[in-house]
């Protein structure tokens, strides 16, 4: 495949000017009760993707807003050509409201409601018919040369080990800086896994307001475990992290922060919110891999870099996830799931910059159409960060 290393890749230009690296038709279930029907449509119609979830009803206040924002963000992600919003009818998160927000971007949207169409089978048939039309339209769109400045890259680490902070995370930091330098956007997330490293990020903040917000979101996250009266270590670091040599959350955080390279921190955004600034942006998400991945993709990330020390299959239905191992033994053990190896840094065979360059080249290939292991294996993970109780 031909890619231009001068900072170009072959993407899909959308009506709102944004650029997709995939051309999916998304079947978006706004409520748990519609997820099975959505899944059936993806089995019937080639070119469609969907996801299973537990949300969309009996949520209130900020939790309602966060889930709504996530749905709209996923529907408007540039990797999506068109959307079938599939509702039940009686749920809190109304399919029509979600669809009308998505339609504002000029994207093709259809709404199907199970209760309006006489039941599951008829709704599946209706959704499948509409999806077929959209898939055929989508397939007629050609890729064109696009600039790296049009990319939003999500960065993530999961199943960390002591090598994460020495090899793969610093290498992703190099890539993050390269993307920023080319005028693109890099999202740092995982607020939980930045507890203990916030002072280092605050020092790099664009202004006082951003620095203050960094301390605020860290405090809010830390206070959740304090209010619950629990030791955050019961969940983080995880048993796998500990086996890999990480002893505390602070140690994990200091390694995780390396993913953000050395760029100025321009903005801090809410979960699933789209960045308004280019450059390095911090999205407030939990450390939970799937919830934060979903948040970044809802925020508009077209591609995600995911480093791992223990090995994980994590993928997204909407964005390609490039998996980077922190050590070579794991890369060999988990070769079915890992795309690139940064263990060469530990072995002294490559520098952090060498691996950064290799990851950058891979982004060009993946954004031009090369499939990641997670995509090939249909690893369509999905999870929304629920912050409130259900009523």
């Amino acid at each position: 495949m031909e890619t231009n290393n001068e900072g170009k890749f072959l993407g899909y230009r959308r009506h709102d000017g944004k650029v997709g690296v995939r051309n999916h038709v998304l079947i978006l279930p706004t409520i748990t009760c519609a997820t099975q029907a959505a899944k059936q449509i993806t089995e019937l119609v080639h070119g469609t993707v969907s996801f299973i979830h537990q949300h969309g009803c009996a949520q209130v206040g900020v939790d309602y807003e966060q889930t709504f924002r996530t749905y709209v963000g996923l529907g408007t992600n540039p990797n999506v050509y068109g959307v079938i919003v599939l509702g039940l009818g009686c749920e809190t998160h109304q399919a029509r409201s979600v669809a009308s927000e998505i339609a504002k971007t000029g994207k093709r949207v259809e709404t199907v409601s199970i209760q309006d169409y006489g039941g599951t089978l008829s709704a599946i048939a209706e959704g499948a018919k509409a999806a077929t039309k959209l898939v055929q339209e989508a397939s007629a769109q050609m890729r064109e040369w696009c600039d790296f400045s049009e990319l939003i890259i999500g960065t993530e680490c999961g199943g960390s080990d002591a090598c994460s902070g020495l090899s793969a995370n610093p290498a992703v930091g190099v890539v993050s800086d390269m993307i920023v330098e080319k005028g693109g956007t890099a999202i740092l997330a995982e607020t939980t896994e930045l507890i203990g490293a916030e002072h280092l990020l605050a020092k790099r903040a664009k202004n006082e307001r951003v620095a203050k917000r960094a301390y605020e979101i860290i405090k809010a996250m830390e206070n959740r475990s304090i209010l619950m009266g629990v030791d955050i270590r019961t969940g983080n670091p995880s048993p796998g992290n500990i086996k890999g040599g990480l002893s505390s959350l602070e140690e994990k955080s200091l390694g995780a922060a390396n993913k953000a390279g050395k760029s100025q921190l321009n903005e801090i955004i809410d979960y699933a919110e789209a960045p308004t600034e280019k450059g390095l942006v911090w999205m407030d998400t939990p450390g939970h891999d799937i919830e934060q991945l979903t948040g970044m993709v809802a925020g508009g990330a077209q591609v995600v870099l995911f480093t791992s020390g223990r090995g994980t299959p994590t993928g997204s239905p909407i964005a390609p996830v490039i998996k980077i191992s922190t050590n070579t033994p794991m890369f060999e053990r988990m070769s079915e799931n890992m795309d690139l190896d940064a263990g060469s840094i530990i072995d002294g065979k490559e520098t952090v910059e060498d691996v950064g360059k290799r990851i950058f080249d891979e982004i060009g290939m993946v954004c031009s159409g090369k499939l990641t292991k997670a995509e090939i294996l249909k690893q369509h993970d999905f999870g929304i960060w629920r912050i409130g109780p259900t009523f």
């Binding site: 475990s225 304090i226 209010l227 619950m228 030791d231 955050i232 040599g245 505390s248 602070e250």
Partner: protein, 103 residues
């Protein structure tokens, strides 16, 4: 005592631990390269697995343990030079709702 060199890394001058980049058997005398390029001989007291840490200076119980030039937790007891540093003798200090009086 075995005298063999194993690959280790010390990130910053302030650090009190080194990370083993390969498994180091117990009772090994090895040379650790410090960030200022000076070296230090350390006798590793117990097996250190790949990715795990050992103390490069004696650490007093209750004091902070440093890696990346930053605090990664507190020593639960005195830790000798060359001892494995992990969850049995280091504890994180952040997000500790269990330490709040009344809980």
């Amino acid at each position: 005592m075995k005298e063999e060199n194993y690959r280790t890394i010390v990130m910053r001058p302030e650090d009190s631990v080194a990370v083993a980049l390969e498994e180091i058997p117990a009772e090994t005398k090895l040379t650790v390269t410090l960030p200022d390029k000076k070296t230090k001989e350390i006798i590793v007291k117990e097996t250190i697995l790949f990715g795990h840490k050992f103390a490069i200076i004696p650490i007093t119980g209750g004091s902070y343990i440093m890696k990346y030039g930053e605090v990664i937790g507190k020593a639960l007891r005195d830790i000798e030079e060359g001892e494995h540093v992990h969850v049995h003798n280091l504890e994180g200090v952040r997000g500790r709702g269990d330490k709040i009086v009344g809980n």
